[in-house]
Amino acid sequence: MGRYIASRTGSSLLVLLGASLILFVAVRLVPGDPVTTQLGAAGIANPELVARTIASYGLDKPLPVQYFAWLSHVVTGDFGFSLVSGERVTDIVSRRIGPSLLLGGAASAAGLGLGLLWGIAAGYLSGSFRRVLRGAPMFVLVVPSFSVGLAVVFLFAVSLRLLPSSGISSPLEGDQQSLGSLIAHLILPTIALCLVPASLVARLTYATIDEVEQEEYVRTARALGIPALRVAVQHSLPNVLLPIITTGGLLVSALITNAVLIESVFSWPGLGTMMITAVQQRDYTVVQAGVLVVAVVYVLSSLVVDGLYLAADPRVRNPPTE
């Protein structure tokens, strides 16, 4: 097991290194640069001034030189300074990562819980309920999550005025926020963000239930006259969880992708809105830090999934020997 963990950790570090290289090059390949963009916005096009400013940021150096300079700082936790605001990137990311993890965590928990309940209901109920519950995930998946966001804002914030429409706190609260206010601000973006993972989990759950229900041990249990509920709880559902754990990484990926949109719709001060702004402004250092943090979250979640799989499946924990 130790070797397995070491192997997964090592490969994760390699993935991160590869991701850092790819994102560094990719960001530089995007047309435009922060200096020309910013000076142009200020009405300055003087080529000499532009060149001097580019040089002052070190952006005139060859890409490999820039990459290794950046990487050597990143491994010490120094992401440099924003090319637009001049602020430390570490400070910007530190402020943004908390709200993102909060929203991501809430949406993950809600998505998983809702998806499991949904999938189990769709797996075991019969009649029209079953048809509706099985058709609904597809409907949710084809509706863009930002549309759901706009709809819930219109309904709950603008029309009913039950919940705040955007942000993480009310303007007057600032940093002095109550828990109740935080939860109130969290509800709508969580609803908008959790529906996609919930749908994925639901589909996977009822599909797996269908499969497991055909297994011999389940049919045998039924033939022995064991009550249906007991069969489901003791024999079917534990086996349903394994594929859901396996797809946990995919769910994180879906969450991250949608979070960028949802954070924007709800003006949520997380990494998503930070990245959108940084990409628009070609703020290389902030984009690089943001993507790397997302990559780390993704890799860590994959490691957690592997760990859970290890714990849940004895075949992985104790592989058969020849």
Binding site: D33, A42, I44, S165, G174
Partner: protein, 557 residues
Amino acid sequence: MGKMEGVALRKSGALLRLISSFFVGSLVAAACAPATTTPGASASSNPTSTGIVASDKTFVFGIGQNPVGGCDGTQITVTVPVGNCPLLNQEGLVRFDEVTKSVAPSLATSWTFDGTSATFKLRQNVKFQDGTPFNADAVVFNYRRVWDTTFAANTGVKFPLVATIPIASVEKIDDATVKVNFKTARSDTMLLMTTFPAFIQSPTAVQKTTPADYAFHPVGTGPYKVTSYADASRFELQRDDSYWGTKPAAAKIVIVVKQDSAALVSDLLSGAIDASLAPSLEQIDQIKAAGMTIQASPSLVFYGANFNVTRAPFNDPKIRQAAEYAIDKESVTALSKGSAKPMYGAVVDGMREYNADVPAYKYDPKMSGTILDGLGWTLPAGGKVRMKGGQPLHIDVIQRTGYTGNTTLLTPLIVSNLQDVGFEVKTVTVEQALQYTAQGYYDINKWDLAVGGWSASIPDAGTMLGNMLTANWPTVGFNLGHYTNPQVDQKVAAAGASFDEKTHDQLLKDAQLLVRTDAPFLWIFQNQSMVAFNPAKVAAAPFRLGGQLDMLRLQLK
């Protein structure tokens, strides 16, 4: 200097309203006159205080744009940063008075200006918000920090707008007097001295931390202290009750920055904020129906399109004139719900140098057609595109992404109106971040018409024309269409060097006539700045003339 619309701000409607000039309207007597001594002033030397009552209330203001970092005026890239924060926190030796439309005393009580130098008498008993004294040493420190590259405090700091004020050196005469020497004698110098690069900040505070950190914790002499500046998405300013001048109405200002202006409208309607800048056109009816007040004020910001004069067809001024006549500028007023006013010439109506005698390019498609017919561009029977020598009258129109509000009207209007008179139009769209890059508008081979806007950082038509239409592009100015006319250059340069107001204005009026004939820019509309506010909380929300809410003259209920 003037500037084109920027990328740092996502909401283009808000964009030029925000990065625009500070001022509009009639101009500045003191600015043009050399050897003028402005009498000392006390009660009237900070923002005009009529009707302003200092209260203990908080004003919550929403702005829809991308956050632009920091509140240190000298380090600001765009002319007007989020919420105009430096104007609340810091002051220059002189300021532009929004009511009298003139350069007025601020941290200096009086000054003499002879064209190449200015001597300022400093206000006494003024302290920075950190309690340290404002004096000649502080002024020298600040100006050397920005303009003297050999000065220690200049190291590692970027002052992007430093070149906009031609300061050569600064000397302390005594504790209450400084002399500033300028590289060139320009009539707009004192106006330029009212802008951000010349703002004075606490030397102690500046040296206490790094430039990047300082930008988020600035310390000036202004009426508000920055108490919280979180990522420019929300920041707070607390009124400094020891402020030397008239205290503004709001005890506290909270500025909320969101990228989605619709979210701000929701906040306004739910009572979470008191006012929202630049509501989208689609939401104005909804805002009014909810009992909120919409207020529009004229600004110097204007929109239209640059003609590329380096290639056919717009290298011919007559075809540019035909295009000018083809555009129904009046239609914008109705569609923009009051946020735009038709514009017919190079200088915004309301500026002192505005020449009312310049014939307007009023909407006249017949005239447009006649001009094009006269040039041999004729419509074939049953055809919609004019032809000449077998070639269509084709143009490429370039625009950027991200337009909102009244600016969304620009390209459709240009395209449909030009098609109506027989142009074949192809539209090219570039990402907002690439607008002012070699992949965008800087590639003169890519377009014939470049949709965009313009603003001026000071209310001087000469400065604006000089930047917008200078022949020295790209070294100086922002003349995207590469227009040149030595006569215009000569008149604008002479106006810039003229300290006689009458001569200065006449030279610029003459230049407007020349520019009118040359038609280097397709002027379409002058922007009207808009704010939506809750009338239960706000009594008056005056604008700065460039389009920003003037929170120093705010009146609360």
